[in-house]
Symmetry: C2
């Protein structure tokens, strides 16, 4: 039995975070991030201004991280965006699910009324399944907006969930 | 008869650009930008890294500006985003249309294969009409994603157009 603990990101988590981000960004098949992004730039992206960053621990080991940030400024400030990353060692241990549940609880506490994923690569069916089961709707489809390293041009989805309603 | 001339933004255009951006951003009813954004931050937003910025002149007067920037990094780099602003004095003089035509010609020259507007406030029907007539499709609808200063929560649209096809 694994217990997944969520806590705020701390400076000492840099290396653990990069160890998770590096293979995901280098693969270039899920995040619209330059695959050759340098370490410091990737950490600055994940932990940049206005971002609330958390890590997920199992038995004291960091196996996941996510951020919450407002998705737009001004009149769009009540909608947040999140990014999630897990370690390969996290698979099947409920880390992704625990982070998603934590984000859906935390976002309203931060004043957000909805959560939006701007660019979900359509071939990332595992993530899409998880989010749809958590109450997210596909509200947009960007035709051929992502060039997948193996599959070529694939669609990207926009997913959205209000936070003031049960899923 | 007005002739609209497009040229790259130059440093001396700062004041003319801000004169156009200020009322639009302060009004807070079309751009998801903090209405109290300071001048320097607004100019840095419009002319930031990676942005190709142009101005539209009529009889030597700057009456419009737009930028082109990649909308995502990595596998999303082939899709651009644009932002447009016009002076109130530009109304009915073909400035918006000239900038849109220029952007649709310039974006492919910069290597982009599609253009995306991420957040078109649904109450901004004038812009939506222009873009639909120029071949943009509404590919997404974000429910209540914009808090309009008079109308309250309104939808925002995602609009998209491939650049390798006639409109």
């Amino acid at each position: 039995m694994n217990t997944v603990t969520l806590r705020p990101f701390a400076v000492g988590d840099d290396s653990a975070l990069w160890a998770m981000l590096e293979p995901v960004f280098r693969a270039g098949d899920t995040y619209a991030i330059d695959p050759d992004i340098p370490r410091e730039e990737a950490l600055a992206y994940w932990c940049g201004p206005g971002r609330h960053v958390f890590v997920a621990e199992v038995a004291g080991e960091v196996l996941g991280s996510y951020y919450i940030v407002r998705n737009q400024a001004g009149g769009g400030s009540h909608v947040c965006n999140c990014g999630f990353v897990t370690s390969p060692a996290a698979r099947g241990r409920g880390v992704a699910r625990a982070m998603l549940a934590h984000s859906l609880k935390t976002a309203p506490q931060l004043g957000f009324r909805a959560m939006q994923f701007n660019f979900v690569v359509a071939s990332n069916t595992r993530a899409i399944d998880i989010w749809q089961r958590a109450g997210f709707d596909v509200v947009g489809r960007l035709p051929g907006a992502f060039r997948h390293p193996e599959q070529g041009f694939v669609d990207a989805l926009v997913m959205y969930r209000r936070l003031d309603q049960a899923p």
